[in-house]
Amino acid sequence: MTPWLTILGVVPLVGALLISLLPTGRDLLTKQVALGTSLVVLVLTIVMCAQFDASSGDRFQFAQSYDWIRTFGVHYAVGVDGIALVLIALIAVLVPVVLLASWDDVESLSDGADAPAASRKSVKSFFALLLVLETMMIGVFAATDVFLFYVFFEAMLIPMYFLIGSYGGPKRSYAAVKFLLYSLFGGLLMLAAVIGLYVESAKVGTGTFSFEALTKLELSHATQGWLFLGFFIAFAIKAPLFPFHTWLPDAGAEAPTGNAILLVGILDKVGTFGFLRYCLPLFPWAAREFAPYVIALSVIGIIYGALLAMGQKDMKRLVSYTSVAHFGYIGLGCFAFTTQAGTGAVLYMVNHGLSTGALFMVIGFLINRGKSRLVGDYSGIAKAAPKLGALFFVSGLSALALPGLSTFVSEFLVLVGSFQRYPVATIIATVGIVLAALYILLTYQRTMQGPLSAVHATMKDLNVREVAALAPLIALMLFLGFYPKPVTDIVNPAVKVTMQDVGAHDPAPTDVATAAESK
């Protein structure tokens, strides 16, 4: 059997190694190697997805397991279910797109007066770090050993910390430290919970970190509660769920555009992925017990994130806050415990990656041209740069979940699935669709419509590279908007298993049920 996941993890590392061996100054070659590597990963991922058997009874496919630290029962164990598979596919799609979008971003930094003297080196390390990050991201979704997951979860921070801290905006070091501290704090809680799990497993047999073995543990309610919280807070910070979100606007705004895309598009998904993979199956009682609280936080996040997005002057902070709102929907979907809401949440993770990726990217292109992140510094840009305006608009439509685009399918599934259990919370969440329209259209109006300011009259429209970076995202959003079946078919079985783990059954239609009873 081909060890697909290991290969996927190793390829970017090889690429990074190749880049580090290149002589400095060969910037173009560096970028080509990076892009080539990411495209190889993409092709391999497509081949792997084609071999995935959605109807298989196994929880994990492409599974491998080797002893790593035998004394503690730690394994190098990888494997994917449908949920992890689509998220790995999202990584494979986003990384080449991000590389293409960041093609000239590092140079443009060295043009600045405050650029360090050794800025030439930065091109190499920038692209090498991105590839290392890709390995870590694949690892975190592929791990089926809780300890291995924890290792990737923490290791992922390192390349991201350097990417934000070295290549970001003016307040980059503040943002990077804040990002690191928040994540480390969450990681610490999770480590405690991981060790707790090990101790519990050692009580009934040999201690293990294997996910599948741990799901069979019978934990007392109190233990479940504490361990659940350990995992949950770590994931809630990562996601980020209200009120653990305040690191995101800083990190999202200060990170270079490409990193912001990966940060919000993928790294944050580890949090919501963790809800479904770890919080629900390992601690079903605690998950049921805490669900109303999580739903409450999620719904607050939806409204709060949207209102704050409206109040932002900085476009990148604005997009970060829209993500807080979107993560609210994902949280709602994860903890509503219906197949529709769960599937919707997973689809939402994928679609949000595409949609926010596109939005961050197009805003990045605008900022590169106008040299300002502030909404108020732009006006009527669509007249000078119609392609930029059009793609800004389409990305915005996906953020407000217009039917016909993939984000609608996921948002509606979350809502329709949650409504069955939490009607009032879902009604509040549904109001979020009005706020989403407001923050998107307000921003579009302020930047792209209205009279064109003289300063920007000569602004260049998007070039071929930039359009090529955006096009795949928009094509995917349209395709999955009208035909999401390929993804739902993969995701559905895994969500059903998760629902069984947590002991939830989809409610039957109430009127039909009563009608049947009366007969």
Binding site: V177, F244, A296, P403, F419, Y483
Partner: protein
């Protein structure tokens, strides 16, 4: 009444599409392809794009005619075409599929027919606009979305078209996006629609939770009743109000006149804004199961029809008067569609209105075309000689909306007034009198418009030489005028439309015999009164160039849209802005500060973070208190809902 509900609920059989009807998807794909080609080829299609777009809508119209005759030949006239599985998730199975039945067929003909005419008109009207290829792309996009709306065979498929037309409407209102008013109007339209969409979304959620399905066949065949029917009905009504500019979501429609005039005629008069009526007519089995929901529909209709025509009296902008007239006329349709058994009259009025209002809008466009984009009626006057064809077409439209026999409005509007009276009781009397008064006020403001534009002295600004429009514009106007003249006669008294729609809308219900001749005579008298009063007020005296200042408080209020905008502003916009500003402050200082402090404490303290926490003790306390309140409130909401 309960009998009606059971009858309509059980008669839901859709047969698979065969023969000429199996290519039903072509109706949507033809205009959609036009939009895609024109948008992707951009400026390159400036020359041929408009003709391609027009040709594609023309082909869709021809194919729609083929469909009409095929459908007519069938015994079971409800044809279902399954396309593919769209969202399959456990119990939630939504297919992409089309439903062609007498109701959707009627709309398809209206949309492609009027759509084609307006495409042709736009060839002339937009000839000198350098972005005309984009304009035609958006028009095609609109036609495609509107066809999805009326052809979709489930509420979710309808929703796709529903928001699709909202998108097209946004793009077309903001077509001249560099004008701030146009951009603001477009945004307002989209947001008001979204408010309605919350209702539509929630209705679909209730359907799934209660009935386990969202397809028309499933929902209508489920025997939906009681609280479920009322809940679904009222939520659908909210959606319908957003799309159709009905109270309390009516203020976006007049602002939408910032778009090019062909758009106003097609989207904001003849087709899109009538989608709410379609939605309610389509959901007849739901509404007939809930008399409460029906009553609310009639009240909304009656209130809106009064609001629309009152404000219509106060404006001097020719397009805004027509827009408020549309609001008011759709009010009539809502009134009718809410009266059990009068659904067919709502659709009849929708069709005749489609003809006469589109005709009047295009005539107004022709006037603007000849007058250098002037819209102020105080700057018109005496145009009947300069633009005889335009004058002629507008006159037919005017006679039709007034309801002068044998013009179209006579057959549709009188039927609605008659049905309202026929409901009997206090409710029937009140609704009937409101509808009757509305007819009189309509006669007043339309005659005022007519007189100020085409009669009296010339009040043109210097250097204006009004001229008749080219034939590409006059042709569609004449066709629509013919429709405005004869469509009522053709469809009304013959019972042609009623018979055709019976399988969808159910049997007519005779509540109480009403003397139809008497109703007609009284209506005509009231209409004549309104028209004559307008003639006396505006036709016999000179019209001042600036609106008079010394007017009744009522006129002042009407000029300000009866303060609905001000109400929205002070109830929603301003508090929203304050809340947003407050939250931004709290988030930056409070929550962030508090968590930073916590992080700094636990993480051993970075100097940077420690600096942050000084001086924010008060905001921590504030935010923690606020946060606790928020969490408590949300928890309460969650618990309540369980």
């Amino acid at each position: 009444m309960a009998d009606v509900a059971v009858l309509s609920a059980q008669k839901v059989t859709y047969v698979p599409a065969t023969g000429a009807l199996s290519a039903l998807w072509l109706l949507v794909v033809l205009p959609a392809a036009g939009a895609v080609v024109l948008l992707l080829s951009g400026r390159a299609s400036a020359k041929w794009g408009p003709y391609l777009a027009t040709g594609l809508v023309g082909s869709a119209f021809v194919y729609a005619l083929v469909c009409f005759f095929s459908l007519k030949g069938l015994g079971e006239r409800s044809v279902d075409l399954h396309l593919f599985s769209w969202i399959p998730v456990a119990g939630f199975q939504v297919d992409a599929g089309l439903l062609l039945d007498p109701l959707s067929m009627t709309f398809v003909l209206l949309i492609t027919g009027v759509g084609l005419l307006i495409h042709v008109y736009s060839l002339g009207y937009m000839e000198h606009d350098e972005r005309k290829h984009t304009f035609f792309a958006y028009l095609n996009l609109f036609i495609a979305a509107m066809l999805i709306l009326v052809l979709g065979n489930s509420f979710l498929a309808l929703y796709v078209g529903w928001e699709g037309v909202g998108l097209a409407s946004y793009l077309l209102i903001a077509f001249w996006y560099w004008k701030p008013e146009a951009a603001t109007a477009a945004k307002k339209a989209f947001i008001a629609n979204r408010v309605g969409d919350v209702g539509l979304s929630l209705a679909i959620m209730v359907m799934f939770t209660r009935l386990g399905t969202t397809s028309f066949q499933g929902v209508f065949g489920s025997g939906v009743h009681g609280g479920t029917a009322t809940a679904i009905g009222l939520l659908l009504l909210l959606g319908a109000c957003g799309k159709s500019g009905q109270f309390p979501l009516q203020t976006w429609l007049p602002d939408a006149m910032e778009g090019p005039t062909p758009v106003s005629a097609l989207i904001h008069a003849a087709t899109m804004v009538t989608a709410g009526v379609y939605l309610i007519a389509r959901s007849t089995p739901v509404f007939s199961a809930s008399p409460d929901a029906q009553t609310v529909v009639t009240i909304i209709g009656a209130v809106t029809l009064v609001i629309g025509c009152l404000i219509g009296c106060a404006y001097d902008d020719i397009k805004k008067v027509l827009a408020y007239s549309t609001v008011s006329q759709i009010g009539y349709m809502f009134l009718a569609v809410g009266i059990p058994g009068a659904g067919a009259f709502a659709i009849l009025h929708l069709l005749t209105h489609g003809f006469f209002k589109a005709c009047m809008f295009l005539s107004a466009g022709s006037v603007m075309h000849g007058m250098g984009d002037q819209v102020d009626m105080r700057r018109f006057g005496g145009l009947r000689k300069a633009m005889p064809w335009t004058f002629g077409c507008f006159t037919v439209g005017w006679l039709a909306i007034l309801g002068v026999p044998p013009f179209a409005g006579f057959f549709s509007k009188d039927k609605i007034i008659e049905s309202a009276f026929a409901m009997g009781g206090t409710r029937g009397t009140i609704l009937g009198i409101v509808a009757l008064l509305g007819a009189g006020i309509t006669a007043f403001y339309m005659t005022r418009l007519m007189v100020m534009t085409f009669f009296g002295e010339r009040r043109w600004t210097d250097g204006q030489h009004p001229h008749e429009s080219p034939w590409t514009m006059l042709g569609p106007m004449v066709v629509l005028a013919v429709g405005a003249a004869f469509s009522g006669l053709l469809l009304g008294p013959t019972h042609g439309l009623q018979d055709w729609l019976r399988p969808v809308l159910g049997e007519e219900v005779v509540h109480r015999e009403v003397n139809a001749t008497l109703v007609s005579l009284v209506t005509l008298a009231v209409v004549a009164l309104g028209a004559v009063y307008a003639w006396v007020a505006y036709g016999t005296k000179a019209v001042p160039l600036t609106p008079p200042v010394a007017v009744t408080p009522f006129t002042v209020a009407a000029r300000k849209n009866l303060y609905f905008d001000a109400l929205n502003e002070s109830l929603l916009m301003r508090p929203g802005q304050y809340l947003t500003r407050f939250l931004v402050f709290v988030d930056n200082r409070g929550i962030d500060g508090a968590v930073s402090a916590l992080a700094a404490g636990i993480g051993g303290g970075s100097g940077r973070l420690r600096r942050l926490q000084t001086g924010f003790v008060r905001s921590y306390a504030l935010s923690m208190f606020g946060g606790a309140l928020l969490v408590a409130g949300a928890l309460l909401a969650v618990r309540l809902g369980q």
